[in-house]
Assembly symmetry: C2
Homo-oligomer: 205 residues x 2
């Protein structure tokens, strides 16, 4: 069986993380998006275990206390976080779980899940990031400025990541991302069972 994998993707707002991940998921049905837990009540269209794992505040706070979350945030009065158990189960099944998070959470995920792979998406250059944020048409000038200032802070943490994915075009970036997944699954450290089979061969076989 091909080994499972937890892939973390970070990068500044506007760099195109979501588009790259969506494009790349078409390449391999074993690639799945991480499902978050939340204390927010479900909307009519949302299903348990598909969009979110729905929890009460008390349940969520117990998960925080018991270190059951790879990362979590409180946003507009609701908790959001990634349940470690679900990720572990999917990876054990051989799935590639993709988790899109802020840079602050990446170190914590490596601590709780040492075999994870950390990818950082960069724009071709900084000006291009500004153009993309303005191109959205939904950001005020102040909001663009705030996001660019935040991007500069995020760049300072790039060294924590394993790989840089340059988003020059969505197609190239999705190909690059998929190369990382393919090659990480070929790591000797992730294929110990197969290696042991080869190491234990003898001429009688």
């Amino acid at each position: 069986m091909t080994p499972g994998l937890l892939i973390v993707v970070s990068g500044p707002a506007g760099v195109g993380k979501g588009s790259i991940v969506r494009k790349m998921m078409d390449y391999d049905e074993n690639i799945v998006l991480s499902v978050s837990a939340t204390s927010r009540p479900p909307r009519a269209t949302e299903a348990e275990g598909v969009n979110y794992f729905f929890k009460t505040r008390e349940q969520f706070e117990a998960m925080i206390k018991n270190d059951e979350l790879l990362e979590w945030v409180e946003y507009c009065g609701n908790y959001y976080g990634t349940p470690k158990e679900w990720v572990c189960r999917e990876v054990e099944k051989g799935k590639v779980v993709v988790l899109e998070i802020e840079v602050d959470g990446a170190s914590n995920i490596r601590r709780l899940f040492p075999d994870c792979v950390l990818c950082f998406v960069i724009p071709p250059d900084f000006k291009e990031l500004e153009n993309r944020l303005r191109g959205r048409g939904t950001e005020t000038d102040d909001s663009v400025k705030a996001r660019l200032t935040r991007a500069i802070e995020e760049f300072k943490l790039i060294d924590k990541y394993d790989y840089l994915i340059m988003n020059d075009t969505i197609e190239n970036a999705a190909d690059s991302f998929f190369s990382i997944i393919r090659s990480e699954r070929m790591r000797t450290s992730r294929n110990q069972l197969m290696i042991d089979n080869f190491k234990n061969l003898n001429r009688s076989e």
Copy 2:
């Protein structure tokens, strides 16, 4: 500039290393085969620096003494080895240098060239390796047995390698190999200059 890379490929006789590398070289003109030094006299069709770097025995022995070779062997009375300087120069130019060597040499290459990537090619299963060796039609029964015994010894050193490339078909294996090259070139540790540029940005730019 995309970073250069030294890729070492090992694997048992008959596993198809040569075919995979030749196929994969069509994918990117930056992939080059390592050029060996030898004390063997040039043949009429051979050109200096293309097929080999031709050296006298004395010159070659001086290279050994001065640690100028990534690996070397003596075979049928002639020396063969990989000049470190040539590899370094090509990698600095941004080339991906592919070096096919025996398992014994791999550890030494990592010592002299810590940033190298070690790949080991495995057959889908052991029986298939035997079939391929017999299928060559050039091997005696004793020679097949000797090669298989040697393969079992080589498998014991797989843990020294970074990646396993399964050669189920040449096309798949060449794709796998190329994924490794692509992703290794995206490693943050190989892109420090680009990272420093992003880290040194400030809002005035």
